[in-house]
Amino acid sequence: MSTSPAQQGRNPRLLQPTISMGWWLQRGTYFAFMMRELSCVFVAWFVLYLILLVRSVSRGEASYQHFLERSAAADIVLLNVISLAFVVYHTVTFFNAAPQAMVALVGTRVPGALIGASHYAAWVAVSAFVAWVLLGG
């Protein structure tokens, strides 16, 4: 139970508000928010995964081969697929929120839709560059 500081120890005739442990299951938007918070764990996992990849490369070919084999195991593939879904969700919710937090002025105020669209455009551009590097461009 959570009581407002303004009312703590005050009037016993007031009915104090309560909040249940499952508050985040009571509304779709609260649930979506909690999933966005949870997505940070998967972002952290991808960072760790990248560090492990770099470390295996730095230790020589055998270590890198072992890393690839381990990465092809079902549990890691499953974890990475789930992580990818969460990271995409994280990105989309972040980009959608960007226009609310940013006010850009170029002469006049840049419309929010343009701020959002520029984030997606940058995402596509970076992804295309990474794809070009990976595919041996």
Binding site: S2, I19, W23, E37
Partner: protein
């Protein structure tokens, strides 16, 4: 549309017991009636003991906020005809202590509102003889959206952060601080920053965004808070890298 509708109204009368109960009232359902009109019908014709707040009936005074079918709404702006065939469940705004029936205690909000100094602050007031402080339409547009707030507290009712941490200063108070910060006539940014840069100020907000969705006046308090965070972070960086140039 049925010509009668049932309202399930939350009742809490401290003299009658410590629990909230629900009472059902069947009332006429007219096309042009808001939920508030329905409550007024009950008060005038069925049960004069029902307690709730209202005043303007036109979305201006901000006093008629309640939970209608689980959603925080201005009851004068919510039509019975939009509530299906009923029953319509009417409860007091969530996250506030209840005084009686549908009336909540707003003193916590009032205290927080004053703490952000929602008025124009000048370092030195110029004498009246020098005339008014002028503003261009563009300067007015900068803060206009945030000035539409009617202090209805619907955003507090929707905010899980306020529910979990009642010390959080909350969406409307921050939006109103931003309304004055963005006003070209105001010079109180630094004073407000002292209150708002505390943990219970802007940093408590985790950007659930629900306050903006439920606001009946399109104030976008969530946007105000995120913009405030951005300017607070820039402020800190400026004073870190340019101690003399920072405030």
């Amino acid at each position: 549309m049925a010509d009668r509708i049932t309202l399930q109204v939350a009742r809490y009368r401290p003299d009658a017991g410590p629990e909230q109960t629900f009472q059902e009232y069947e009332i006429p359902c007219r096309k042009e009636w808001s939920v508030l009109d329905g409550l007024n019908y009950i008060k005038d014709h069925v049960d004069g003991t029902l307690a709730y707040r209202w005043s303007c009936r036109m979305g201006i005074c901000g006093s008629c906020g309640m939970n209608v079918n689980g959603e925080p709404k201005l009851t004068c702006g919510t039509f019975l005809s939009h509530c299906g065939s009923g029953p319509v469940r009417i409860e007091p705004l969530r996250n506030f202590p209840i005084i009686r029936d549908l009336i909540v205690d707003i003193s916590d909000f009032m205290r927080k509102l004053v703490s952000v100094k929602p008025w124009v602050i000048r370092a030195i007031e110029k004498p009246l003889s020098e005339g008014e402080y002028r503003q261009t339409p563009q300067q007015h547009d900068e803060y206009k959206q945030f000035s539409m707030c009617i202090n209805c507290m619907i955003c507090y009712s929707a905010c899980p952060v306020y529910a979990l941490d009642p010390h959080f200063i909350g969406p409307a108070a921050i939006a109103l601080a931003q309304r004055y910060n963005l006003d070209s006539r105001d010079e109180g940014n630094a004073e407000r920053m002292d209150v708002l840069s505390q943990h219970e100020g802007i940093w408590d907000c985790t950007f659930v965004g629900e306050c903006t969705k439920v606001c009946p006046k399109n104030v976008d308090p969530a946007g105000a808070i995120q913009r405030y965070k951005l300017s607070a972070a820039l402020d800190t960086m400026t004073s870190f890298f340019m101690p003399r140039g920072g405030r």
